[in-house]
Symmetry: C2
Subunit: 196 residues, 2 copies
Amino acid sequence: MKKKEVILQAATHLFSRKGYKDTAMGELTKMTGAAEGTIFYHYKSKQGLFLAILSNLKEGILPEFERYRNAESEKTGLDMVEESISFYLYMAQSREDLFAILHQRYPYELAESNPECRDHLEAVYNCFVDIFENAIVTGQRDGSIAPDIAARKSALIVFSMVDSMVRFRMNNLYDVGALYKDLIESCRRMLENRTR
Amino acid sequence: MKKKEVILQAATHLFSRKGYKDTAMGELTKMTGAAEGTIFYHYKSKQGLFLAILSNLKEGILPEFERYRNAESEKTGLDMVEESISFYLYMAQSREDLFAILHQRYPYELAESNPECRDHLEAVYNCFVDIFENAIVTGQRDGSIAPDIAARKSALIVFSMVDSMVRFRMNNLYDVGALYKDLIESCRRMLENRTR
DNA sequence: TATAAAACTGACTGAGCGCTCAGTCTAGTT
DNA sequence: AACTAGACTGAGCGCTCAGTCAGTTTTATA
């Protein structure tokens, strides 16, 4: 692995664990064995490095979400919602570093002045919400989900619940495992079609 | 107003808008007119100042939530849930500074090594969840809310939704106003008693 | 093997930071 | 008027940090 890649990986790890501001470039040199200058040779600034991480995050996560979304399924839409929640929670755990970065303040602050950053964030969030919307639309077609709810907005609401769970877990506020069953049940009650 | 209080207010504002690490003590001197030394005369360190803010936040918010929770209501539990969501969103808007601080990384980081900080956070979050739990328990008693759901866990789930909405608004990700109606409707579907 | 480009190095810089401290000011008491 | 305690001051200290740059090593090409 080239130094450039090593730096990116180490920076992803450090930024996600300690935050942007609390990570010194000097720590990166210790972790990577690269000299201070090498980092600035490959990335023009600390902010530039962060943008590279975001871009890498997008490239690493989106395809997996898109592949998941496009996979054929025999399930009802309502069951797909449950599965999507599982999938999201699974991804958030297996790619902890990347999701932790999305739960920090810095990217949103940067997004206000940097369109590239804003684009990355929007793409990622749209993709997240898409998998829930896809399941809901499917459910409205097959009759398992209430036809009179707004699919996109409901998808956003489901996402907001799952996103909070991830945040709770990361901040050590609540044990998400203990809530998982109730979360699924709540979403089912929220979405299921009762007119049949 | 004494300098000490002025410093606390200004620091609350700055910390909430720019974050803990990105706020320099020097900025506080400009905002308050107090000398650098004055801040450290009243608060023993930057961290100590932050703890004072948290304590002040608790004292400022909890009584209002407790008063709200203990107020008698003619409403059904299900209607109370809706009202509680409104109340929470209203509080989050009118006390924007305080809620913004709760949505930062620093307090949770500090909580891991500082019990005082941890206590403050726990007290605040418990109080938040309590108002939803109270409504749900009431609803289970009056029959408007499903008897077979776990009140505390459901309260946590409702809270997680509302909390995400506040976070979305703060990060300029989505317009919460546009989602309000759907949020309420979703919670109703999620909680309402259908066995009657 | 010679040459050039690309990758890498680490001592250095200067700005900014949290915090200190010796001393001044103010208001209340005797 | 003399004294005192608490509030307040701001220059300055020690340190950290992002970023630079002149120079060295590695790699690719001729």
